[in-house]
């Protein structure tokens, strides 16, 4: 198993480097920061000074070298906007997103396994149809629209919840969490239900029943374990989507997370912060992908054999 993890880490290192280089180049394609930070009346001299001060006058390859050198000493440069340490800004923003995404995925997976299994237990029953319809509606909900409707109803009209912000009790969590939760939950219920329907009609379930296993054991012990791999794959992808794209929720609710930081730095050409934010996200996603692969190997002995062989 350790060899598997080591091999997986080594093979993942290459894409990580590609992402770092790609972000470096793509960010510089979005435009010239001097145009954004200097007044329209700036003289060519002022422009050159600005570029020289931030190191943008050097050839691209030298900028890249400086950047890579900085990586090894964990120095990501300074923000153009605030003058603060870029790595510090990204690290301060990251926990907010991580907390939100972690709580969301935990709730989504537990809820989806329970409701999806319940629906799959009797295909085409009333419970199945109802949960199917509701989960489809949830999976097809535009999250920004859901958030706006939530604000309209619960904050503006009823006044129960705050419209945005992170200061306060648990009530500030309700709308961002629900907004982020609704789509992964809907998708996962459908995936769990589909996988469980085919797992529950498999011959080994009949064997388990005939040897007298209790119904909870049949459903959660035998069927769920076989239904888990596709659920795991989808849940992993959804989590990546959450880490990568909590932008909408963070923008609407003023949540100071990595998504908001990323889009702000893209729009402001704040290259150093953008690179730090993308690097942190990319490292997290790679760790997550390895974790998902490991869980696959733990669940499925056929995969395990293929991995260790």
């Amino acid at each position: 198993m350790l060899t598997f993890v080591r091999r997986r880490i080594v093979s993942s290192a290459v894409p990580l480097v590609v992402v770092i280089l790609g972000v470096f180049c793509l960010a510089r394609l979005t435009g010239d920061p001097a145009k954004l930070y200097l007044p329209l009346s700036a003289t060519p001299q002022m422009r050159e000074d600005f570029l020289a001060r931030n190191g943008f006058d050097k050839p691209l390859i030298e900028q890249l070298w400086d950047y890579l050198e900085g990586l090894f000493t964990l120095d990501f440069g300074e923000s153009l906007r605030t003058g603060q340490d870029a790595a510090g800004m990204a690290l301060r923003a990251f926990p907010a997103t991580l907390q939100l995404a972690g709580a969301t995925m935990l709730l989504a997976i537990v809820g989806a396994v329970l409701i999806g299994s319940w629906a799959a237990y009797k295909p085409n029953s009333l419970a199945d149809r109802l949960s199917g319809l509701l989960s489809m509606a949830a999976a097809s909900m535009p999250d920004f629209w859901f958030a706006i409707m939530g604000v309209l109803v619960f904050a503006v009209t009823l006044g129960w919840l705050p419209t945005s912000g992170v200061v306060g009790g648990p009530e500030v969590w309700v709308l961002p969490l629900l907004t982020l939760l609704i789509r992964p939950f809907g998708v996962l219920v459908q995936v769990v239900r589909g996988a469980m329907v085919s797992a529950l009609s498999a011959p080994y379930v009949k064997v388990a029943r005939s040897k007298g296993a209790s119904e909870p054991r049949v459903v959660f012990g035998h069927a769920l374990r076989n239904a888990a791999p596709p659920v795991l794959t989808v849940a992993g992808d959804l989590t990546v989507g959450l880490v990568n794209g909590a932008v909408v929720v963070e923008t609407i609710f003023g949540w100071p997370g990595i998504g908001k930081l990323m889009i702000d730095s893209i729009l402001q050409r704040d290259f150093a912060v953008l690179q730090a934010a993308v690097l942190i996200t990319a490292v997290t996603i790679f760790a997550l992908n390895i974790l998902v692969d490991l869980c696959h190997a733990l669940l499925d002995s056929r995969v395990r054999q293929a991995v260790t062989a």
């Binding site: 319809l133 097809s140 794209g245």
Partner: protein
Amino acid sequence: MTVSEQKKGGDSMTATLDTAAQPEDARSQAGRTRWWTLLLRDRVATAAAVVLLLVVLATTLGQLLIGDLDTKQNLRATNTPPGFGHGWEFVLGSDALGRSVLARLMVAGGTSLSVAVPAVLISLIVGGAWGMWAGYHRGWRENVSMRVADIILSFPSLLLAVVVLYIFSPSAANIVAVLAIARIPVYLRTARAESAELRGRLFVDAARTFGTRSGAVIVRHIAPVVAPTLLTVATVDFCFVMLAESSLSFLGIGIQPPDVSWGLMVAQGRQYLQTAWWTAVFPGLAIVITTVSATLLASWFRLATDPAQRWRLALPRGRRGRRSAPVLPEVTQ
């Protein structure tokens, strides 16, 4: 389990055998009618198909009917609430510039659909074929493909969208390209996982033993088994792509004014939320209605294309809920 149902299963089997013996064109004719009857038997799926058809008609033919109504400003009728008192064009109210919300919904829907449909098709075909190929061959082909998928997945698609927006013009075609590239890994991974598992199965071994080339094994033996899963993913993804496009437009890095999409309409209506809620509510509702009916139709389609599940649709409506699962498949298979 009654005798009549046993007989029914037997009948349908002989029917299949009969059609198999008929000439090519007659068989396709029979296939078509069976699809229709299968669709009409499922009330929910029929309703979803009708709604989707209406959406497509409204966004294509409807646009021809409304003329320039979607851009015509009427400053004496700004923020008209929805209702029948102001003529048919203001049934869904008007926005802050007095433009008909209904007409704008039609035009915006056309934009949204013309982004989502091509993006899904491109990523489905490219990602599905690539994934089956990678999973079937395993080895370095699989490793390289998975790493490419990892790269694309961990790359912030927002950054890609912004780069495209600044370097190229923010046209619908460029957004299609961004979304298609961003979604290829999803199909790639699903198809890879299924095909890697299938290649160890007996029927694939058998085909290989008979000397079938790998391309033919993938097309004839792997693809039909993987296809239902991929189609399910594609419909969930159709919603995702539509929502991604509207999110991008909502954030201001997707469709740009004067063009309009449903997401952009929500963004524009957001600032009038307290005075004119309908300008933000109706475009969102349009997105929900379209994506939900697409998902409903697709879940029916998945059932209908899966040989192991199709018997559920062929049952009389009232009996479907109560019957125990494992009986009929044994008869029909």
